[in-house]
């Protein structure tokens, strides 16, 4: 680029040692540490944490109230049932987390980049000897660590209280199912975190990026499932006389469209992993069900059922983060 336009030749740049060139700036850890401290000391974190803890406690309380009736004569999988059983008026723990999880992710990321730009700290930070990768990776990883910490604290709290209150010890499988559920929740929140960080790069104002994130959250958790039903009904109209095959198409299309939303993916996956009695996620015909023996699905089979969901969520998170990463690396600091 330089030789193309200038006819004046200036001295060759100093050679930086090849080894030194490939060496990392060593500042990922510094950014990570600083961001982690920022997150943990912010009042935002405490508000979110207590909000989640309170909903966790409430849903746990109703679950314990109702578990005796629900699992009469069936003392298997008590621990995981605490997470999926709701009361008459209160939805279960999984519902709360699927609702509040995105909010936590959004709240952590929406001002990650533009907040620093608006305060004028970004150009100061970038003029220090560190790579831009360190900045965005450090920010993302620190927030991810906080999310993981929050989720495991919450899951541990509810599970621990559950064991204490019901007096039923968990099996290894239950603990595994619970861990997978928590990891799944972290991935889901990481998706929203990556999305809100992307928005904080695209939009200059923190308010705009927050609103953008909330709009997308509403779209994915409310409107996509609604729209999926409407589209499916328009393509395959269903009434009393409709043949079974059209009904099947209707359901399949509806489900396929709804699964475009990460909220749907997460809800389906969390129900499957926490309720071993969920045997399939698609429609079942009467002849397929006839003769089937009712029972619990082993962990491996449950995992197999949600594997596409999990990979889909991880892939979506990675793609969004990659877009944000590329944008950030290419973004120019402007006068």
């Amino acid at each position: 680029m330089e030789s193309a336009s200038s006819n004046v030749i200036i001295d060759k740049p100093k050679k930086v040692e090849e080894k030194a060139k490939r060496r990392s700036s060593g500042n990922l850890g510094t950014v990570f540490k600083k961001e982690l401290a920022d997150q943990l000391s912010s009042s935002r974190f405490f508000i979110l944490f207590f909000l989640i803890m309170i909903t966790g406690a409430v849903s746990f309380y109703t679950a314990v109230q109702n578990i005796s009736g629900a699992s009469a004569g069936d003392s298997e999988f008590v621990l995981v049932k605490i997470f999926t059983i709701g009361g008459n008026s209160l939805p279960p723990f999984t519902w709360f987390l699927s609702l509040l999880g995105p909010l936590v992710g959004l709240a952590m990321g929406f001002d990650a980049i533009n907040g620093e730009q608006n305060r004028g700290t970004m150009s100061r930070l970038l003029s220090q000897p560190l790579y831009r990768d360190d900045v965005i990776n450090g920010k993302f990883l620190a927030r991810l660590a906080v999310l993981a910490f929050m989720t495991f604290a919450l899951g541990g709290f509810v599970a621990g209280m559950g064991i204490l209150m019901t007096g039923v010890g968990p099996t290894a499988e239950e603990i595994l199912r619970l861990l997978i559920y928590l990891v799944l929740s972290i991935v889901y929140m990481a998706f929203w975190l990556a999305l809100s960080m992307l928005f904080s790069l695209v939009f200059r104002q923190t308010a705009t990026s927050a609103l953008g994130g909330i709009a997308l959250w509403l779209l994915f958790s409310i409107f996509v499932p609604l729209l999926a039903g409407m589209v499916a009904d328009a393509v395959f109209p269903v009434n009393d006389q409709t043949p079974a095959i059209t009904q099947l198409h209707n359901i399949e299309l509806k489900q396929g469209l709804a699964r475009l939303s990460p909220s749907t993916l997460y809800s389906e996956a969390s129900v499957t992993i926490l309720s071993p009695d969920v045997r399939t996620l698609g429609p079942v015909l009467a002849e397929q069900a006839s003769g089937a023996i009712m029972g619990y699905l082993p962990l491996g089979q449950s995992l197999l059922l949600i594997w596409p969901h999990l990979t889909g969520l991880v892939a979506a998170t990675l793609i969004i983060f990659a877009v944000a990463y590329t944008l950030f690396l290419r973004q120019e600091v402007r006068a």
């Binding site: 200036i10 600083k34 560190l130 120019e332 006068a335």
Partner: protein, 321 residues
Amino acid sequence: MEQNGIITTVELTKTYGDIIAVDHLNLTINSGEIFGLLGPNGAGKTTTILMLMGLTEPTSGSLRVDGYDPLRDALEVKRIVGYMPDNIGFYDDMTGRENLRYTAWLNHFCGDEAEARIQSLLEKVGLAESADRKVKEYSRGMRQRLGIADVLLKDPKIVILDEPTLGLDPKGARELLDMIKDMGRKEGKTVIISSHLLFQVQSVCDRVGIFVKGKLIAVGKIKELAARLSSGSSVIEIKAEPKERLTDVVKSVAGVTETEMEGDMLLVKGDGENLAPRIVAELAARSMAVYHLRIREYSLDDIYRQYFQGEEVTPSGISKL
């Protein structure tokens, strides 16, 4: 090209769409000097600085900062250059000391070494007492001083300050400029100050470069620029009694080419400063009472107006003689 140019740009150009922010800039800044990058807002000063720091990619042209190409070896450049952006920002919820500590860590100073450096710099900029208060409680002047400490933390070879005195009261600006002067003169750092406030930086800079619309239109010592502008002739203002005879008497002095009355002053143009003793002698010989005589020199402001607005100016506003 001078041998000791620590910063060199060759045909450096940056465009944003149709707007040319920096237009074929050829600039050499010598090691150890205090260089003033002057120009109105939007002249391309900040863009030039951002390219020097490797924060913005040039559209064409090339540049070297202490031998490094900021595009390829951004990290090396950032190790040796301390940059204070205009409207410098700090993390408001952290104390001054914590803000500096973060910068120290990013520059791989840690532990006691970092703490000692931070403390000595805080003392140097006069913030030792408020170091453990949160930055949101700081005044504008304190923020700027913290910015100076932040820049010096990495012990840079080159210091770039973008509009350092903006928004400061005269006293604060004075203190800051003294600090900058020390930085250049005592510690031998190369300092680049960008500013549109000429009077303030005039006293500090060894050389200045004047930017207008992305172009560097003049570069050199302030005196040289003034000399170039006035082409050697300065204007003498005289107040003497009786007024009626003044013009005639002055005109009779050899070397006087033009005169003009401005209020009760007579402005004389001709051979320049050497005229003054001759005029005084002549006035004395005619027993006139001289109340005032001054040689008007081009101030930076005149230079500024001349170059910036393309205005026809002569010293201190004689429009046409």
